[in-house]
């Protein structure tokens, strides 16, 4: 992880606890464990395995009983090792075990719409758009070459919140989303994936 990313996310993550934000009304935080399943181009070219190393967290302010707006950040680590294979090069060949290691850190402006704000089970839909910090390292044997950058991300979602008590702000959350993640490396054009998550929501004020 590059130093600027650590610095950026230190600020971002610490920002979740800023007292100034907590002064506002109906401010909630939602932290989720997440798994991500590569699709299409991403799955066929780079990593086909599901990533079980992910999370997301958002800070949402309730504009109305149903509509919340705020920020979200997430993380996912993808890794896959392919058996030794001979790759043709200009003027020769390379035999190597190829490993792909990819980390994505989307940071988005987020909106969420609660379809049943007073229900025991509260379904919701939402969407986020923003920047996606991508770090990709391709290893031939133990020799790696990296590419990193910031790309666009859009993430529509649907899920349910189950409050711990009636009319309570704290809740168990469960949802799914599709992450559109454009990315360019050789023949690969995106890092699109399905995400499933589960976690808790709690009020900051």
């Amino acid at each position: 992880m590059k130093p600027f990313k650590i610095f950026f996310f230190t600020l971002l993550c610490a920002g979740f606890g800023l007292p100034a934000l907590a002064q506002q009304q109906k401010l909630t935080m939602n932290i989720n464990y997440a798994v991500h399943m590569p699709t299409g181009n991403f799955k066929s070219n780079l990593v086909s395995k599901t990533s079980f190393r992910g999370w997301n967290a958002n800070l949402l302010y309730g504009i109305t009983d149903q509509l919340s707006l705020g920020l979200e950040a997430g993380f996912s680590d993808y890794y896959q090792k392919y058996p030794r294979q001979v790759y043709t090069t200009k003027g020769g060949a390379v035999s190597a075990v190829l490993s792909n290691s990819i980390q994505t850190v989307p940071v988005m402006i987020k909106g969420r719409f609660n379809l049943a704000p007073s229900g025991i089970v509260q379904p919701y839909v939402g969407a986020g758009v923003g920047g996606n910090f991508v770090s990709y390292t391709r290893y031939l044997g133990e020799f790696g070459s990296s590419k990193s950058g910031v790309y666009f991300v859009a993430s529509p979602e649907a899920g349910i919140a189950i409050p711990f008590r009636e009319h309570g702000a704290s809740a168990f959350t469960l949802g799914g989303r599709y992450n559109f993640m454009p990315f360019s490396y050789g023949d690969n054009k995106n890092l699109n994936n399905w995400g499933l998550y589960a976690g808790i929501r709690f009020p900051l004020k």
Binding site: M1, G17, G54, Y79, V86, G91, F143, S145, F202, K205
Partner: protein, 217 residues
């Protein structure tokens, strides 16, 4: 109560930072020595390898460090690599002869160590080839080596490499140049190991099917 929530949020923030560092799977920690190695071969595609029938191989291994010849050695590992090359050349139909019997091909083996870091194509290795392997050994004193292809070893350097270089002695009379026609480079962990020398050299030959005195290449 409010303080507790702020502490909770701060704790969550710190957990986020912790996740960033700890949730990444390190590919290098999940790799055996065999998996760490890469085998790179390059050749002059204009050369007809079935036009060569005899070869000779140097009787020791040159140790090259940062572009300079340090010494020649013949350890058990060196001998294993030399023998492995001989075995594979024989399987491809080439006949071993002494270096003073006008072989068609000459083969040198070098251990290459570079301290530099970054992305390179090993120019410093082939750039000083005359200083490691004097053409006089092949009976061509005063000649220069010439490698028309550029090595594709564009990877970060961390440790030593083993290079097997094949040069054209049959056509060395032209321009007083000895042309390199094939190179095999092995890089990674535990390259210099007598017990795996045969399989490592075999990997180089397996990905070079055109290396045959009987082929149509």
């Amino acid at each position: 109560m409010k303080k507790n929530k702020i502490y909770l949020a701060l704790t969550a923030g710190l957990l986020c930072i912790g996740f960033l560092g700890s949730c990444t799977k390190d590919p290098l920690k999940n790799m055996t020595n065999d998996e760490s190695r890469i085998y790179i071969t390059n050749y002059d595609s204009s050369v007809l390898f079935n036009s060569f029938h005899t070869y000779s191989i140097s009787d020791s291994v040159a140790v090259v460090r940062n572009g300079a010849l340090r010494k020649r050695t013949l350890t058990a590992t060196d001998a294993a690599f030399i023998q492995a090359v001989k075995d594979n050349m024989q399987m491809r139909g080439y006949q071993l002869v002494a270096n003073d019997e006008h072989p068609d091909l000459g083969i040198n083996i070098s251990s290459v160590f570079n301290n530099q870091t970054g992305v390179i194509s090993y120019p410093s290795y082939w750039g000083y080839y005359n200083s490691y392997w004097d053409p006089y050994y092949w009976g061509y004193g005063g000649y220069d080596y010439y490698f028309p292809y550029v090595s594709y070893a564009v990877y970060q350097i961390r440790e030593g490499a083993l290079s097997v270089d094949m040069v054209d002695l049959k056509d060395a009379g032209k321009d007083k140049k000895i042309e390199g026609v094939w190179n095999g480079l092995i890089r990674g962990e535990a390259v210099f190991n007598a017990s795996t020398a045969a399989s490592q050299v075999k990997a180089l030959f397996d990905q070079s099917p055109y290396l045959s005195s009987n082929s149509n290449h």
